[in-house]
Assembly symmetry: C2
Homo-oligomer: 247 residues x 2
């Protein structure tokens, strides 16, 4: 009997060339396929919900795969955590309907972009934050963020290189907060274009430094041109926090 | 003209065999000596305040050295941060009196021991916390901690291997707090014996798990025997937070 199993996967992206399998180096997908195939004694190929870039972290990415193994779905997390390298951990494994596809279901993803905003970098936080010593005006970043909430064409916030039908997405929440020298940008949406969160972060940083005004955000959306927005912020500051499926 | 310079040094201890120079691998002291010697074009040997163990981190360790370089003391931090690997950063450099010796001055050091207390480890926090999934009774750990505050003979909380005159130390503050699945043990004192903070953390964890009662802490102190206390908690959970000199 074939069953479909869903895993919630956390990883430190530092040592990986992103989620998706490629020739250049190790990937999360490759590690999952190899260790699942060994554990279940089948050729397993996972389908990932989010193809995070090289250096991006996740607290909760979602993958599914089909197996005819008799190991109960909920035990797979424990068995996999004995095998995986310590920078990848399965937080949960469970059986789902055979029709469940993580990229075809309506969902809300939440990402966090973290900026370490101090005079000097802190070595123990260098892998999970982007360091910037400049003064950021948080209230202007908040004001700018408000322009992006809602359903918009985010073409200006999308790197080229991906083929997609539509660049319209909905952002449900986009918050900027500062606490003890760390700026956190949290964003929830129904989907994100290639590099979208990192371009939003890079653009909000320009606003915070006074290089753009908050009301330019509306014009950037209207332009529908990547060159209108700010730079793509570095990958290591980005973490995929959570995934919620609506149906 | 010779001057004495004091550095405040932050580091990620993951890839080092501790602070103090040794044959087995890279050390913080060796990196500082090499890069300072190159920058100042002299043979520099630093004196460190705290010889942190392999894998232990620091937000603020203190070192001093003497130099006849004409580079102003306060510029050395910036120049060194261009040269050092990114897991070591100088937070401040300043001239101090020639008589200043970081291990001979009265001081208060503060350490933090962090326990990630969740069902599964979080990969992005694995290098800076000790993972434990067991249930900890924080109120019992707080009660136990209170026995150690003040001036005591901490012989039971000292690993052998160090030659010292006295095992009497004063703990000014020892706090246990839990926030969102992370237990933080913070301890301030006038000095710490070899592995003392990690043995305190390991013993408090035994209390939290119900393997010891809080009032056994008094008896452990009285025994003056390492075998009376709990295990030495792993190095990676420990960070030297701060140093204050009283005179």
């Amino acid at each position: 009997m074939v069953k479909r199993v869903r895993l919630s996967v956390a990883y430190d992206g530092t040592n990986y060339c992103g989620f998706q399998i490629q020739q250049n180096g190790p990937t999360i997908e490759e590690e999952l396929n190899r260790h699942l195939s060994e554990l279940l004694e089948e050729n397993i190929k996972v389908i990932g919900a989010s193809r995070t870039d090289s250096g991006v972290h996740a607290l909760c990415n979602i993958v599914v795969f089909d197996t005819s193994s008799r190991i109960p779905a909920e035990k797979i997390s424990y068995a996999m955590n004995q095998r995986l390298p310590e920078d990848i951990r399965i937080r949960k494994s469970e059986e789902v309907e055979l029709s469940f596809h993580p990229r075809k279901r309506k969902s809300m993803k939440t990402y966090e972009y973290r900026i370490l905003n101090k005079e000097f970098p802190i070595p123990t936080r260098r892998l999970y934050t982007h360091f910037a010593y400049e003064h950021f005006k948080i209230h202007l970043m908040k004001e700018a963020a408000a322009y992006l909430v809602g359903e918009h064409d985010f073409k200006s916030f999308c790197s080229s290189g991906s083929e997609i039908d539509s660049t319209i997405r909905t952002i449900y929440m986009l918050d900027v907060n500062e606490n003890d020298g760390e700026i956190s940008i949290q964003v929830s949406g129904n989907g994100f274009l290639y590099n979208m969160v990192r371009i939003i972060a890079g653009t909000l940083m320009e606003v915070g430094k006074g290089n753009m005004t908050p009301d330019e955000m509306g014009k950037i959306l209207e332009r529908k041109d990547r060159s209108a927005a700010g730079p793509t912020a570095p990958a290591k500051g980005l973490t995929l926090l959570s995934y919620e499926f609506f149906d």
